[in-house]
Amino acid sequence: MRTIEVGLPTKQPSTLKSSQFHLAKKSVKRHWQLYLLIFLPVLYFIVFKYIPISNAVIAFKEYNVVQGIWGSQWVGFANFQAFFSNPVFWTLLQNTFFLSLYSIVVGFPIPIILALCLNEIRQGFFKRTVQMVTYAPYFISTVVMVSMIILLLSPRLGIINQAIGVFGISSVDFLGNPDMFRHIYVWSDIWQTAGYAAVIYLAALAGIDPTLYEAAKVDGASRFQKIIHVDLPGIMPTAAIILVLGVGNIMAVGFEKAYLLQNPLNLSNSEIISTYVYKTGLLNADYSLATAVGLFNSVINLTLLLMVNSFIKRISGNGLW
């Protein structure tokens, strides 16, 4: 493949086409078994990923079950207009954005700090234990995670309320308070994923050239200076990519946890785009509106990701692709 790409500019377009065709024919003949092998997976992606994209036209239609996706009447941007003029629009946008921003601002540095700390201490029982324990919560399911939050924060017998009760503070209904929602969401997420996220930084730290440490030692650098001048630059490329992904997905807050943490009392802060799509689409069966909202969100996301990626590319020379 590579040699062909290099040879591209010098060849005439027509011979290029025929040589490409020739190559394809040769490859199919040689690897026909592999082409057979990819049939089912490709079919899977067409059916479950690409057909849904074409189904998304119902965002521009007034979908009804009888006429189906393609038979339903076109309505242009009516569904989008209905969503934009709905007072819930700005609330959703803000809730989604702030929840995500908060997650990044806190969730980005903490795994780095954890990895840097773990990297400082000697290999041994304590280090292994810390790694094992911090990594474990990642594998707790969302349902169980949210149940734990509810149990621990319960105003009736949650341990947190009992603990603050000792200091004479009356029990607080954390989950019933809209202002607490973001804190609960973000910090429980950190509790659950910091150890997992640190693994990638630990790998990056292990890949740092040992001679740099030697040099730092010769220069009489303290541990802290070594972290600042050797460790941090060493993990910078990894951190940049993770930050790009985070910022690029800022509007794509997952449905699962937010939905389970919701209750009628905290809805003013906990209703985000994905939970709204679920409710309008599947609970109220307004397929077209829900698809429009989802599509709007996907487009914003894609735009953001492309923008952030090209920005990073311009300053550092390599982005995600």
Binding site: P41, T142, I200
Partner: protein, 308 residues
């Protein structure tokens, strides 16, 4: 990686001899910080497990702190005698077992061809896959596909629509690319060994680590997910454990009827205890395989990171 870590720990050791006071205080601070972190993460876990082994009364009067109070297995007895939970457990085992087989098979079936340099069209195919990571039709359009296929409210809805992850394909492809040399495939080809036979009798036996990574990733995903079940399933007898748990733990659906205050209170206490036991029971399978998970998941992340 291990080699590097070992080298690093040697380095630290040789450093320690002439470590300054500032450095020692700094290191002490780090130990303290990590210890605090350990406590913050461990405490809720220990609290939940201890509560699950306590008596209903001790739990609902808030007497459990670190160790089980009035040790009892009552919570587990109630959990395991609840038909809903038992069905959910069996369903989840079913979904996890068959879902993982389907997922791993399909993933390898596309990842291996993608790893072959002489496979024409691999770049286009890769772009075709990666695009679905960046853009998707959304919840309702996907739901409509599942509906059209007649999968709604059948077991298929949990096995097929979320069968493959692009990320897993990339990890597997990267592994094949870096561990199966092209020369090996070419040599086999010269000897008249077809691609499928080569995959089956050479590539797969050499790829046990990546197969383990894929199995664990898909199995844990399948065991822990509830969203697809929530949107695609109506019949409670098909519910996976996570959805049953959601009903009991989060929506608090406990069978109620006319009963006197005493039974009511006991029932409430039992319901509280049941939650703790359920959390433990449902996490048990993942806990059992955790040692493997820790080893292989890390490996998976690192292979994926090479690409990223």
């Amino acid at each position: 990686m291990l080699g590097i870590q070992a080298r690093k720990s040697n380095q630290v050791k040789s450093n320690r001899v002439k470590e300054s006071i500032g450095d020692r205080i700094f290191l002490g601070g780090i130990y303290l910080f990590l210890l605090l972190l350990l406590v913050i993460i461990l405490f809720p876990l220990i609290y939940i497990v201890s509560s699950s082994f306590s008596s209903a009364l001790a739990v609902s009067s808030g007497r459990v702190f670190l160790f089980p109070v009035e040790f009892s297995l009552r919570g587990y007895e109630v959990a395991l005698s609840n038909p809903q939970i038992v069905t959910g457990y069996a369903n989840s085992l079913f979904y996890t077992f068959f879902g993982t087989i389907i997922s791993v098979t399909l993933t390898i079936a596309i990842a291996y061809p993608l790893s072959r340099r002489t496979f024409y069209g691999r770049n286009i195919l890769m772009a075709f896959l990666v695009f679905t990571m960046l853009f998707n039709g959304g919840l309702i359009p996907t739901y409509l596909v599942v509906k059209t296929l007649g999968m709604l409210d059948t077991r298929w809805a949990l096995l097929i629509p979320a069968a493959m992850g692009v990320w897993q394909i990339i990890i597997a492809r990267t592994f094949f690319q870096s561990s199966i040399p092209d020369e090996l495939a070419e040599a086999a080809e010269l000897d008249g060994c077809g691609d499928l036979r080569f995959l089956w009798s050479v590539v797969l036996p050499l790829s046990k680590p990546i197969i383990a990574v894929l199995i664990l990733m898909y199995a844990i995903f399948q065991w822990n997910s509830y969203f697809d079940a929530l949107i695609y399933l109506k019949s409670t007898e098909l519910y996976p454990l996570q959805l049953v748990l959601r009903g009991i733990l989060i929506l608090n659906t406990t069978a109620s009827g006319s009963m006197d205050a005493q039974t009511m209170l006991e029932r409430q206490q039992m319901a509280d205890l049941l939650k703790y036991s359920l959390i433990v029971v449902s996490s048990l399978p993942v806990l059992i395989i955790y040692p493997f998970v820790q080893r292989y998941f890390t490996k998976g992340i690192l292979i994926g990171a090479v690409k990223g």
